[in-house]
Assembly symmetry: C3
Homo-oligomer: 406 residues x 3
């Protein structure tokens, strides 16, 4: 039953909804803008090693459907579309060692070379053999995961040259979590490296329950080699907003900043820092590199995030935690990781990021001061991509999805 509001219409000014404010597109970074389905020329983790057996399995990476299969211990990857009638090879199986056969007519491809070795239903002398080669992908295994290289015909670089340096050569125990997520991979990566949101969005995360976070920071971004680092110049633990009032992330039950040990960016006071970690914590605790790899240095471990493009609307979140050490020293990490870090950090904390990545809708976008971290990341991506484009042109190769295609 209704009740009349006797008020007259409020006198607020009505604004017309028209063109959205701010930057209308990402044309300032043409390579980045064109990379909706990811950057080519990199290794990407696509699944756990344990998931790939002799039963073929389809994954989608950078918009391409790929069949993965393990043969005699080694993982192989081919384009997952039989050239005959377009049927996925991943629906088939192995009829001969070292091959995969399409389920429809038994076209049988060599796993290593992609060569059509037999068309079973056309007999041993089928004239088509040797005339068809299925595209293959380079594959390797690292950190308990299968990695696939997607390029444009160039030689794949060694994966070690792309992995975070400290993961190459150092003994480490790692825990990981792979989760298919909605949203473009660039929103995920920008969210990961974004300086601003953690202090607001994650203020309610259980992971931060007993640890205060600053309200805002003064920050600058520094490039060192393949990585750009976020350097905290100054942290502000509370603030008084003109016309609004005070706002703070602190509470009596949260550890105060001066005595804070495990706080992000404040690891230098920690008692027993592992030497591998100590080497990484300068110049900043948060860094990012191509093709979308985030590294956060905590006092006792390093956390990585790989934002793997599935297609323009979906990505694979790969979170990895690494503790550097050997033998008995690593047991506490295992226990802690399995006991609650996995659920709390990868799950609940990261679930807030997942939520934002799903609902982000940009450009148009109106950036603000803390987005300098985003701008620097886009510039890194742009510069590195332009270098690669030059290399490809010098080799007479051409990239799929290059900027001028869009």
């Amino acid at each position: 039953m209704g009740e009349e509001s006797g008020d007259s219409t409020p006198r607020r000014r009505h604004s017309r909804a028209g063109k959205l404010p701010g930057r209308q597109d990402w044309s300032s970074w043409p390579h980045y803008q064109a990379a909706a389905t990811g950057f080519r020329g990199y290794w990407y983790p696509v699944t756990y090693s344990s998931q790939i057996t002799t039963k073929p399995r389809q994954v989608t990476l950078l918009g391409e459907k790929i069949v993965l299969i393990r043969d005699n211990g080694t993982v192989f990857a081919l384009k997952d579309r039989c050239p005959h009638r377009g049927v996925p090879l991943s629906e088939g199986n192995q009829q001969f060692p070292g091959t995969i056969s399409c389920p429809y007519h038994g076209w049988t491809f060599d796993l290593a070379t992609g060569e059509l070795k037999a068309a079973i239903t056309d007999g041993p002398a089928s004239p088509i053999c040797g005339k068809v080669t299925q595209p293959t992908y380079e594959v390797t295994e690292r950190l308990g995961m299968v990695w696939v290289f997607v390029g444009d015909g160039e030689d794949a670089p060694p994966i070690d040259s792309q992995l975070p340096e400290e993961l190459v050569g150092n003994a480490a125990v790692v825990g990981s979590r792979m989760q298919p997520r909605a949203g473009n991979w660039r929103f995920a990566c920008e969210n990961g490296y974004d300086e601003g949101h953690a202090k607001y969005l994650h203020r309610t995360a259980l992971w931060r329950l007993f640890k205060a976070m600053p309200v805002w920071n003064e920050t600058r971004i520094v490039r060192r080699g393949r990585w750009i680092y976020r350097v905290q110049e100054k942290q502000y633990w509370d603030a008084d907003f003109p016309g609004l009032g005070k706002w703070s992330n602190q509470a009596w039950y949260k550890m105060k900043p001066p005595t804070e040990v495990g706080n992000i960016g404040n690891t230098t006071t920690h008692r027993k820092v592992n030497p591998v970690i100590a080497a990484q914590e300068f110049p900043g605790f948060a860094s990012v590199s191509m093709p979308g790899v985030l590294r956060i240095v905590y006092p006792t471990f390093i956390h990585y995030e790989f934002y793997v493009p599935v297609d323009a609307d979906r990505h694979l979140y790969v979170g990895v935690m690494a503790s550097f050490g050997k033998g008995v020293k690593t047991w506490p990490f295992y226990a802690k990781y399995l006991g609650f870090v996995r659920w709390l950090f990868h799950g609940q904390f990261s679930g807030q990021d997942r939520w934002m990545v799903e609902v982000t809708d940009a450009p148009p976008e109106r950036l603000y001061r803390p987005d300098d971290s985003l701008l620097k990341w886009r510039k890194l991506a742009e510069d590195v991509s332009e270098e690669r484009a030059k290399r490809l042109r010098a080799e007479g190769l051409e990239s799929v999805g290059r900027p001028t295609d869009n």
Copy 2:
């Protein structure tokens, strides 16, 4: 198991399926044709007042996403997209009175003006403050519902100038029902005002179970002020169709027309007509006005339908029943409304309309004589829209979705 039909192929003539007959588009009414997502420049009811609390809520109106929130008793409406990265403000909450904050980075907007008052994660002196203004909408509450004005930058007219006149200033009790429905709002409005379908489609409705309806009428449409009225010249209670036979809506258990009291369009013989109702029943019991408001005058109450455009494919059905009177006199209406009118009229009767609005697929369309009511409604909409377009041009404003856009 099959059985042969020994018949030879029937000799019926086969007609080729090609271009559909009749009117191919609505270009005779360019404003109307362009108004797939509704007419701008009007107040629309969007939800019950009780639904809007301090927890923000998103509604879609004329294709625009709007966040509604109640602050200190007053409802406010803003465009539901943070200009920073496109996140819905309705996913956020209030950090300071009189504001709403985006959940991602804490951008905080003044509810009344849309001004960006703080970007929490950039500190109190953030240079972006004062440089961003979020579009707002004028809002008011009437009849237990929240109404939002969607325009093109012009001043909103007082809502009283748009509500049915008898609802302004008269004491009334109202019952209402809001239901999201599939189908374009124009099909819903045309269905509501359509002269022809009631007598056929609704012949089986329980609401009509004991009341006969004519087979067909002679009708003309008359404009008075903002409204066009359907005037019944003559009613035919049964008919003999050449080559087919007799057809009638009458039955022994239905009240016959001469003694009919509660029959549509036949209210003048009613004993105690409320003066408000009596004032409305001439020149016709069914009338319609912009931007899609139907009014049906019954002997003891008036029924209204508002067809609120959500987007091109969905609308919000808002049915309102009003009884004019005060105090004890209104109790029987409450009892009757809550007891069965709400279910029978709004529900079952109106469910038949809902069904037709969902399956209507026009243009193309081949209209017939009773569709004069539709043509007059389209003409009203066209004329009123052309007047508004002239006013906007005179003010230097331009309408979103004006005919030439399409």
Copy 3:
């Protein structure tokens, strides 16, 4: 927990994913390419006869929505869209014998001619009567199913001229199965007539559990009248693939070819072949005719498949088994059919085909030697369609969806 793979990156050559190999489109057969929603000018089975009663029912055929209704024992078909406002007539019912009425305003069409006989809500003298004619389709019943002719205004040929010849005039008992399926009808038809896949895809079907199949055949295609036949020149029961090894469909529990009785294409040694079947088994056991009818001659029955186009993405699979004979002789067929043939053959065996038709994605396609059967089928379709196009032009008619439309 991860484990490092110490291997260096495999040295497999990476191939760039670019343009797909083989034939890029079907422009060599323009009529066939244009026939995504089927060929016009044919009778198609659309439902079981028992499904059509006095309650109207919608079917989609060649992308057209058609209402079917039985009146006084005869089935009628009209375009299922009232020309007034686009409402499906199948949502209405009968108000007068020999007619169907739209549920919205009671427009009433003659079932046989499509003529608008009454617009009930405009009274007996409605000026629109006689000015609107709804397109109708010719309908007949055969083999327990309703068949509809979709053409371009030409006279429908007698259905007997299109049915497999042996089904006209011979006593037969038939069992059938109709199943809506995903995928374009052409993939279904090409799969049905495809020479190659049966020996590989179906090697695991229970239907073949105790019967060996060859690995590959030498085959040629021969046209006789409306049909093209697959003639097996030679069958190879096992094969040794260079570099891979031996491969065979034989097993100790499968009947060996020399003593094989019920094997496909090997029926001449069968003891008591029915004379109707004997007449069909030369020159080959598998044949196909327009507009997509497959015939497989088994020793004791004939199996037919009709691939009925619903729209570009869906088809209706109609499997029919016919045993030729009368009276007591037919009982074993009934028992066998109902007992397990229906489940095993139509269901499990045909389910493998269904799977492939769903995942086929062509063109592009890279055909191989056994695809000569596909090429000959496409040529048949093309030649017959070109003849029809000439006939239509001579009559001054024009086909919907003719090649130049696409």
